[in-house]
């Protein structure tokens, strides 16, 4: 029982981690919380669904297709809602509101186009493998494996490549980065697109593991991502990964041991508790955190 729940929690957590990374990347370079991320997650799930059902693609091509779609949405988001606000002297409210606008737009557009009903995600991978201590389904292996591969690739990208270095420099200090000859505008666009592609991939993984796609899934999943973002510390990629796993495990255990109807409150109950003790999040360095 315990190991079974642990496996379930880690699987769920890996998806949460991917969602939170999307938030944290954008926060890192732009210092804003991208409220449209939930909408992009949801659109990613629908793109994946359409590619599988209508176009008849396999799961992995569809996943990549969804990521490309997410990246395009990310580009539009950056050009239409984020870039016009930069450079002007605006409050920190403005980008928040405009990304909320994008998320309202995406959610209601999806409601109009796809209808309010919940759709299932058809797959051929339904076998259950028995390891004695726990059972794991192929879907769980796929979603966890994909999430882990994405995280490893992202870590390599950020730490080993030239563009990753530029992203980190921009996140550190945008003015200094541009003085040092980094094309910061291009880096910001790249980061938003990367984050949105990850969001779309997370959407497909959620659709796969919950076997349910609906227009409102973006909001609830986006909120959990936000909780993880706070838990791990804003702008901290490693923290987001660890926070995702912690939330996944905590949620699964709270469901398994009694409080199933409180499932959606676990994430936020946890962050309120954590903020009591460590206002800067679990993994952020002291001084960079939430306390002034």
């Amino acid at each position: 029982m315990f190991f079974q729940q642990l496996v379930n929690g880690l699987t769920l957590g890996s998806v949460y981690a991917v969602i939170a990374i999307g938030y944290t990347l954008v926060f890192g370079v732009l210092n804003i919380v991208n409220m449209a991320h939930g909408g992009i997650i949801m659109m990613g799930a629908y793109i994946g669904l359409l590619l599988v059902t209508v176009a008849g693609w396999g799961l992995f091509p569809a996943l990549i297709g969804a990521m490309v779609g997410g990246a395009i949405l990310g580009y539009l988001l950056e050009v239409l809602a984020l870039r016009p606000l930069r450079g002007k002297k605006v409050t920190h409210l403005a980008p928040l509101i405009s990304t909320i606008g994008v998320s309202i737009f995406l959610e209601s557009a999806a409601l109009l186009v796809f209808g309010p009903q919940t759709r299932a995600f058809p797959t051929d991978y339904n076998q259950l493998m028995d390891f004695g201590l726990f059972k794991i389904s192929e879907i769980q292996i796929i979603s966890m494996g994909t999430a882990v591969v994405l995280m490893v690739l992202l870590t390599l990208l950020l730490n080993k490549t030239r563009i990753g270095k530029a992203v980190r420099a921009t996140a550190e200090n945008i003015e200094t980065a541009s003085l040092l000859g980094i094309h910061t505008r291009r880096i910001i666009t790249f980061t938003v697109m990367l984050a949105s592609a990850l969001g779309a991939a997370a959407g497909v993984l959620i659709a796969l593991s919950f076997n349910a796609i609906e227009p409102t899934m973006g909001t609830s999943m986006g909120f959990k991502g936000l909780a993880v973002l706070i838990m791990g510390g804003l702008g901290n990629v490693g923290g987001a990964m660890a926070g995702g796993f912690i939330l996944g495990v905590a949620e699964v255990f709270s469901v398994a041991y009694g409080a199933s109807s409180f499932r959606d409150a676990v994430a936020f109950g946890l962050i309120i508790l954590i903020l009591f003790i460590r206002p800067q999040g679990l993994f952020a360095k002291a001084g960079k955190g939430g306390r002034p």
């Binding site: 919380v33 809602a81 509101i97 309202i104 936000l226 109807s261 409150a265 306390r291």
Partner: protein, 319 residues
């Protein structure tokens, strides 16, 4: 007269008033630079408290509404202790989380009737019209009791809203308001000049919680039915929209924003299907072109100057 006093128009006015109060609660915390998104949670607390007290304990409605505000404020104190010490987005997300937690709890408790919702809440309009009927006003004006009730409720709400707006306006021009302004401009500089930052932030947070509770209670007595889905994240987004659309740096921005954004969707009934899409696009476009909202500090100053000049000219001409 008949056209203006029909039930539908009065209903819209009632909701304009409630939304103005709600938008004010967002503005109150923004006065100190705090973005708090827990207002739906406080609203829900106020609504359920007042509903439970008036239905199950037969408390008079004004006391129920007051109790709703007080309960929201007490919870606000508990939530505020850790969260008002947080900076910017940490606070926004922590309070957003608080709202979600309240919603899930309301969904699971027996006393709130869970997802079924709480029905049979005494209507403010009915009790006001009973009152008027007993005093013989309804007969004297030869109106039917329903319209009379709605009309009286409108008047009560307009007065209440005006009182709250005037109260906050006075507060802004007092010592406390200046402290708020200093904290908003620069927290560190404010603390260096001897302003107790956390104390004033907490004060703004508690006022906001109290009035959100009151708005929730009024909402409950205006609709007679509440369920946890009434107080979701969308409610906060609406309130935030009112404030930011109208102008988040001036008090009148919230009033204007709430009025416009409550009345316009009513007149867009025909486009109901596309309403949210239009809403979303409108927000993005507004932020692109006017990131501080319709009213800014400068426009209010200009308007005030023009108004004074006009009234001065009128006085001169009159003499």
């Amino acid at each position: 007269m008949e056209d203006i006093l029909n039930g539908y128009v009065l209903q819209v006015v009632i909701f304009v008033c409630i939304n103005i109060i709600l938008a004010m609660t967002i503005y109150m915390t923004l006065c100190t630079g705090l973005l708090s998104l827990g207002n739906a949670g406080f609203m829900s607390l106020g609504a359920y408290t007042s509903a439970i007290l008036t239905v199950q304990y037969n408390l008079p409605m004004p006391l129920g509404i007051l109790a709703g505000g007080v309960v929201a404020m007490i919870v606000g104190l508990i939530i505020g202790l850790p969260t008002t010490r947080l900076r910017g987005l940490y606070l926004a997300i922590a309070t957003l989380g608080f709202g979600e937690v309240v919603r899930v709890i309301a969904l699971n408790l027996d006393i709130t009737h869970g997802a079924l919702g709480f029905s049979g809440i005494p209507s403010m309009a009915n009790s006001l019209s009973d009152l008027a009927g007993n005093m013989g006003i309804t007969d004297a004006l030869s109106m039917d009791s329903q319209t009379m009730g709605s009309l009286l409720m409108c008047i009560v709400l307009i007065i209440l809203t005006a009182v709250i707006v005037c109260f906050w306006n006075a507060l802004e021009h007092s010592r406390i308001g200046r402290a708020f302004k200093a904290i908003k401009a620069d927290e560190y500089a404010a603390s260096l000049s001897g302003i107790h930052v956390v104390y004033y932030k907490m004060m703004a947070f508690l006022f906001s919680a109290f009035f959100a509770g009151v708005a929730g209670a009024l909402y409950a007595h205006a609709t007679f039915f509440i369920s946890p889905t009434d107080f979701t994240w969308h409610k906060v987004v609406d309130a935030l929209l009112y404030t930011v659309f109208g102008g988040s740096n001036v008090l009148w921005g919230s009033v204007l924003g709430a009025s416009i954004l409550t009345i316009v969707p009513e007149s867009l009934r025909a486009l109901a299907e596309y309403r949210d899409i239009i809403y979303g696009v409108m927000l993005v476009v507004l932020m692109d072109f006017r990131p501080d909202g319709i009213l800014t500090v400068q426009t209010v100053k200009n308007l005030a100057r023009r108004f004074h000049r006009k009234s001065a000219a009128a006085e001169k001409g009159g003499r």
